[in-house]
């Protein structure tokens, strides 16, 4: 689905979902968003990454659910005391809610990174902030290069260095200093190369790869349609001092369902054969 859309639209979609998680502190919506993120992630990522992701989510879940009750003692339903500080039910539930929110934020960002790849980001923002975008593009180029350089330095000295741990650490710091000097020198050459291809010219055009098509407008319309229904039935949820929320028998389920469709859109329309066939999303 996303390859058919203009990347700006895809980007707007994901930013919208991410914003809605941040602004809405309602566990049911958070849960829906979390499930959407997880299922999409499973659909688009490799097995190895999925396992790593699950481990991270588990860690966040345990950590935040435990930390929140220890530090926040608001809430009326007290379960037990630790060193005369009360551990409340509301606090634990808030912790669980928060961990789901953070996990789904991380997952949505990962999905965003994979679907709206870096060159699309370059395309989206190039008209508005061309210099920053160029720096972004150069940085993306640099990070694998720096890793590679470090590996080269390490391997070059592996044979002749001391096996002792302390001197290894000392030498690693030296290596980091070397990478920085090495990269700075190379960057000067890159700057020369940029100049020699005309970078100092004042007037520049922008290479545009994508246009707005009918399907982009249809997609925007769908988003608005779903959002309006979801907003209509939205009722805030509060944890402290006691769990309280409103539930309208008609509007609330409608709101939940439309938000679910909104979050599960990528799963409904993502076809692995088309989009992941050549690993080009």
């Amino acid at each position: 689905m996303f390859i058919y859309l203009n990347p700006t639209i895809s980007y707007i979609y994901f930013i919208f979902i991410i914003l809605s998680i941040i602004l809405i502190n309602h566990p049911i919506y958070i849960l829906i968003s979390f499930l959407g993120a997880i299922f999409t992630f499973i659909k688009i990522e490799t097995k190895k990454n999925i396992i790593i992701k699950f481990k991270k989510i588990l860690f966040i879940f345990i950590f935040i659910s435990l930390v929140n009750p220890i530090f926040v003692h608001k809430g009326l339903t007290i379960l037990f005391y630790i060193k005369d500080k009360p551990i409340t039910l509301e606090s634990i539930l808030y912790g669980i809610n928060n961990s789901l929110m953070i996990s789904s934020l991380f997952t949505w960002f990962d999905i965003l990174n994979k679907i709206v790849s870096s060159d699309k980001i370059v395309y989206i923002f190039k008209k508005y902030i061309p210099s920053s975008v160029l720096i972004f593009s150069i940085c993306l180029n640099l990070i694998p290069q720096l890793k590679d350089k470090y590996k080269q330095i390490e391997e070059a000295h592996l044979v002749s260095c001391n096996k002792n741990l302390f001197s290894k650490i000392k030498i690693s710091l030296n290596f980091v200093a070397i990478i920085i000097s090495w990269q700075l020198e190379k960057s000067i050459e890159t700057a020369y190369a940029m100049n020699s291809r005309g970078y100092e010219n004042k007037k520049k055009s922008i290479f545009k790869k994508y246009n707005f098509k009918k399907i982009d407008f249809i997609f925007i319309f769908i988003i608005f349609f779903l959002t309006s229904f979801f907003i209509i039935g939205y009722k805030p949820f509060s944890f402290y001092p006691i769990i309280f929320f409103q539930y309208n028998r008609i509007l609330s389920p409608i709101s939940y369902i439309f938000f679910l469709i909104l979050c599960f859109l990528p799963i409904f329309f993502y076809k692995k054969e088309i989009e992941n066939g050549n690993n080009k999303i």
């Binding site: 590679d148 070059a156 190369a193 940029m194 020699s196």
Partner: protein, 550 residues
């Protein structure tokens, strides 16, 4: 029609007292391919950079440079930018953006090209250079050869009238080099672009060049076409140090008779030498120098059933590798691109751990995980070896009168480099210093990955002689190379890697004489007439014997 003219041009860098270029007078015609030859430091790169103002070094100039009869200084920056392209040696620093398509678009964007013209030009040049497969890829996922082609394409897309290439293939493996050379050949025959190429090794672009410029010490010693160049060198053969620039396939023919025509390629050399067949009454064979008896010399290490697989790959790059290296041997490891040569070396040095199989060092030389012998390792990229701020500090304790190897290292003339910072040295100079350091380390085992990279022919000769010398003193040398001529000249044993295995391990002479392609040009040319020749010296000796028969 003249497109570039240097009129009494001299140039001196600001921090230097000498003039690097002295009274250069040169007139270049449009559409020609000019080859600039000279040793490292002769001034080739400085001369070419003076045509490209953005890369112009700070310095004092005398004389003028004219482009199409107008002085270079009178042109605006934008016009010069577009019309003169420059491709350097270092492949990755010239690749600016992340993806191939944005790299191609970069130059055009800077020229404010309208978008439909941009799309057309990008499409055209991608198809011409066959970049379709890598169009959407990131720069760190494509090979060196592909990167250099993208660099070339992104300059050509701006339609320059003059294209300057500064040692463009020195960092590439033979196949990527061939690909690049063929691309230039295609471009030359289909366009009116003027090519200025600076090279260490004359044979690469010799065939397609129109004129050759020989620069020595900032002066132009020769400017003319190919045949005149060879005649010029052979005019004064006995004391001519320029002979080193002549590739072996020409040297052989000229050695037979100076008046022979200059062959363009190996094929022509073979045809010419076949005409002498009638003088050779019977097939002369030179004696094969006896292989140092493998079983008598002790092993340094043995590789048994080695398998190695990278983590993020599903294939074993080394499969069932078996090898025995003897003490005091000089071994060259050859093989195609990606065949696993570097991986094998890293396994030997314990940089990588084998997935399966073992590398057994003789107990004298390795105990548990510690090497008991002194190993010097020269990786493919030598810059990481330099940790200090000056060469003097780097060589420090080694570069003393007491060091037994100091005299042969003096031959490399690195004294004038001692005060410089490693990053200020050229590729060739750095390589020299790295080799010097690894030898001054007094190693028992010298392991090198592409030691002749970036070196000009004169330095290669010196390095080769140094290798011979230290090998005779008892140092075991193992090196990877794709310079077959060097391997033929300076190794006793060779190992050919293919399909993850050591496909062949034999004395160099045996292997090369029986190979069709992985052998020296001398061997290819003389195979059918005289057996068992691999170096030019072999040919000289053999030809002398033939003449004695006559």
């Amino acid at each position: 029609m003249e497109i570039i003219k240097f009129d009494n041009f001299s140039f001196k860098y600001n921090n230097n007292n000498k003039f690097i270029l002295k009274n250069i007078n040169l007139s270049i015609n449009k559409g020609e391919l000019i080859l600039f030859i000279g040793q490292s430091g002769s001034g080739k790169t400085t001369l070419l950079k003076n045509l490209k103002i953005e890369l112009l070094p700070y310095g004092e100039k005398k004389g003028e440079i004219y482009l199409e009869n107008i002085s270079l200084q009178k042109f605006s920056k934008e016009i010069l930018n577009k019309n003169i392209g420059y491709l350097g040696q270092d492949i990755s620093t010239q690749f600016i953006t992340e993806k191939v398509w944005s790299e191609l678009a970069f130059g055009l964007e800077n020229l404010n090209t309208p978008i439909d013209i941009m799309k057309r030009k990008i499409a055209e040049i991608s198809s011409y250079f066959n970049l379709n497969n890598i169009y959407n890829k990131s720069s760190n996922k494509i090979s060196g050869g592909e990167k250099q082609l993208v660099n070339l394409a992104s300059i050509l897309i701006m339609n320059p009238k003059i294209l300057i290439l500064d040692e463009p293939i020195s960092q590439l493996d033979p196949i990527a080099s061939d690909n690049f050379i063929n691309t230039i050949k295609k471009l030359k025959s289909n366009s009116s672009t003027t090519f200025l190429i600076s090279e260490q090794n004359i044979s690469n672009f010799f065939e397609i060049s129109d004129k050759i410029v020989l620069i020595n010490n900032g002066n132009i010693n020769f400017y003319g076409n190919k045949n005149d160049f060879i005649d010029f060198i052979y005019k004064d053969e006995e004391k001519n140090s320029n002979l080193i620039f002549v590739p072996n396939f020409i040297k052989i023919i000229k050695h037979i008779d100076k008046k022979n025509i200059t062959p363009i390629d190996i094929n022509q050399s073979i045809k010419i030498i076949n005409t002498y067949n009638k003088y050779i009454t019977k097939k002369i064979t030179t004696e094969i120098i006896p292989i140092s008896k493998k079983n008598i010399e002790e092993n340094i290490f043995k590789i048994e059933n080695l398998y190695y697989k990278y983590e993020d790959s599903s294939n074993n790059i080394l499969k069932n590798c078996n090898l025995k290296i003897n003490k005091k041997d000089m071994v060259s490891i050859i093989g195609g691109n990606g065949s696993g040569k570097t991986t094998l070396l890293k396994n030997i040095l314990s940089i990588y751990k084998p997935t399966h199989g073992k590398i057994i060092f003789n107990k004298k030389y390795k105990k548990k995980n510690n090497f008991l012998l002194n190993i010097s390792y020269l990786p493919q990229e030598v810059l990481p070896l330099f940790l200090k701020d000056s060469i003097k500090e780097e060589l420090n304790s080694f570069y003393t009168k007491e060091n037994p190897y100091i005299n042969i290292i003096k031959n490399l003339e690195i004294d004038n480099l001692l005060d410089k910072h490693p990053y200020d040295l050229s590729g060739g100079e750095l390589q020299k210093v790295a080799i010097a350091k690894s030898i001054l380390n007094k190693p028992d085992l010298l392991i090198m990955d592409e030691p002749t990279k970036n070196l000009d022919e004169t330095t290669k000769l010196k390095i080769g002689n140094i290798f011979n010398y230290i090998n005779n003193l008892g140092i075991t040398i193992i090196y990877i190379t794709h310079d077959i001529e060097f391997a033929g000249e300076y190794s006793k044993t060779s190992a050919l890697i293919f399909n993850g295995e050591i496909a062949s391990y034999d004395s160099t002479r045996n292997m090369f004489c029986n190979n069709m392609f992985y052998t020296t040009s001398t061997n290819i040319i003389t195979k059918h007439i005289i057996e068992n020749l691999i170096t030019f010296k072999d040919f000289e000796n053999a030809w002398r014997n033939i003449n004695e028969y006559k």
